[in-house]
């Protein structure tokens, strides 16, 4: 378990030395969310309706921006090879890297989303639900995305390839994440959606490090 915390700490420290990269994807999220009202029009009723979906799609794309960096640096400088050769469990190390990615790319979105939700005239409960659904959904995005990142490691055109591979797999998270907020707004209640998001999170946390390790072994073989 130590190796897990060591890797999270290491990745966070490395990211802090290059803050711009982390901030870029957050900034991207803010800009995308701002573009939609400009394109669609400022009617509050319309914005309230599209708000959750727009913010969720924005979060999805912002998470994806950071994915290609997840293993790239370690792959370039050879530390990834050392991780594969080390006696520690590769799955735990990968889980550490996924957690670090989520802390850097997912958590800022969870915190920022309510502020951006205000631009879309969302109610207070809807803002809370938006944050909650992102809190449960973004780790799934990091988990599934990590598999794509492992498979496209060092492949030419890797960045665009990741989006082709993982965006279709993100669909269920998007449906239930944005659906949770919409269900709450329409008065149905979001409990079912939240339960399903949780139900997706647990297997993702369990299987993704395993699939990722297999992907990394294939990439570095």
């Amino acid at each position: 378990m130590n190796i897990f915390f060591t890797l999270v700490q290491r990745d966070l420290r490395l990211a802090m030395r290059r803050k711009a990269e982390v901030l870029n994807s957050v900034f991207f999220f803010v800009v995308v969310a701002t573009l939609f009202p400009l394109a669609i029009g400022p009617e509050p009723a319309m914005l309230r309706q599209i708000g959750p979906g727009v913010l969720w799609v924005g979060a999805l794309l912002a998470t994806m921006l950071g994915l290609s960096r997840m293993f790239e640096g370690d792959y370039r400088d050879g530390s990834l090879e050392h991780m594969l050769l080390s006696p520690h469990s590769l799955g735990l190390m990968v889980l550490g890297k996924i957690t670090a990615h989520w802390l850097l790319c997912g958590v800022p979105l969870v915190i920022l989303a309510p502020a951006l939700g205000l631009q879309f005239d969302l109610s207070e409960e809807a803002l809370w639900m938006l944050s909650l659904s992102l809190l449960l959904g973004t780790p799934v995005l990091s988990c599934v995305g990590a598999i794509g990142a492992a498979l496209t490691l060092g492949v030419r055109g890797g960045g665009i390839l990741i989006s082709l591979l993982v965006l279709p797999l993100f669909v269920p998270v998007l449906v239930f994440g944005a659906g949770a907020v919409q269900a709450l707004e329409s008065g149905v209640g979001a409990q079912a959606h939240v339960s399903i998001l949780l139900a997706m999170l647990l297997p993702a946390l369990f299987f993704s490090p395993w699939a990722c390790s297999a992907g990394l072994r294939i990439a570095l073989e």
């Binding site: 598999i147 498979l151 496209t152 390839l161 965006l167 797999l169 659906g179 294939i218 073989e221």
Partner: protein
């Protein structure tokens, strides 16, 4: 018997087997296709509600079935390839993918043609349409990944992994969009209740489905032969093949 399976897993033996099989399968596909289309377009009665427009079902439904079956077959070969490390499995998966994508596209296209007169729209955001579209994206993703990696061994294994991950996701995607929105009519053929269509229509559809199966097997045999000969071109047995040494001379 188990040993015979592995016997055919060797590329040289499968190359010869596929050479013998594919012309027969292709002829079978053509014969079944002609019979199925003849039943579908000439013999089957006009539908009480949908008129003549429903006849596209004879292409649409078998194509949708096939697109899903092929993805499962890809996942099957991927599991086999990753566990037994056989060379042929990767080639099978690679050979299946374009046909699967073609059937997924055909299913979407014929579905749009059917939807326009029946529902009055080319496209609706319904569970089955959406998941078929995402299945199509999964095929494209698989092909994009395998073609982007130059090393064939790595491409095969990476492709196998993404095919398995995709196969696990397909049911999740299906149910998520199902709860999200549904308009599509219920399943056309079900095993648990008696079919809601005329016997003759059912026969037409079954013949078309069998024809697509035979076509898929034929084209996969053909494509695998090309893949084998391309990847094993440095080996002696390929050099000794009459078709290869004949070209050289």
């Amino acid at each position: 018997m188990a040993i015979r399976w592995f016997y055919y897993a060797a590329p040289p033996t499968f190359y010869a087997l596929a050479a013998r099989l594919w012309p027969w399968l292709a002829m079978l596909a053509a014969a079944l296709g002609v019979a199925g289309l003849w039943i579908g377009f000439a013999l089957a009665p006009t539908d009480a509600q949908q008129g003549e427009g429903y006849r596209i079902i004879f292409v649409h439904v078998p194509a949708s079935w096939m697109s899903m079956v092929i993805y499962l077959a890809m996942a099957f070969w991927s599991v086999l390839g990753l566990t037994f490390n056989t060379r042929l499995s990767g080639m099978m998966t690679r050979a299946l993918a374009p046909t699967g994508a073609m059937f997924a596209f055909l299913s979407l296209w014929t579905g749009a043609l059917w939807g326009k007169p029946m529902w009055g729209t080319w496209w609706v955001w319904d569970a089955r349409l959406t998941s078929e579209l995402i299945l199509f994206f999964l095929y494209l993703g698989y092909m994009a990944l395998t073609s982007a990696i130059d090393d064939v061994r790595r491409a095969d294994r990476a492709g196998a992994l993404i095919a398995i991950v995709g196969a696990i996701n397909v049911p999740i995607i299906y149910f998520s969009v199902k709860w999200w929105n549904t308009l599509h009519q219920g399943a056309s053929v079900s095993l648990t209740r008696s079919p809601s269509m005329a016997q003759l229509m059912l026969w037409g559809m079954l013949l078309m489905a069998l024809s697509f199966w035979a076509y898929t097997l034929a084209i996969v045999c053909y494509r695998v032969r090309s893949l084998i000969i391309e990847r094993e071109r440095h080996t002696e047995w390929v050099q000794a093949l009459p078709e290869v040494s004949g070209v050289k001379a």
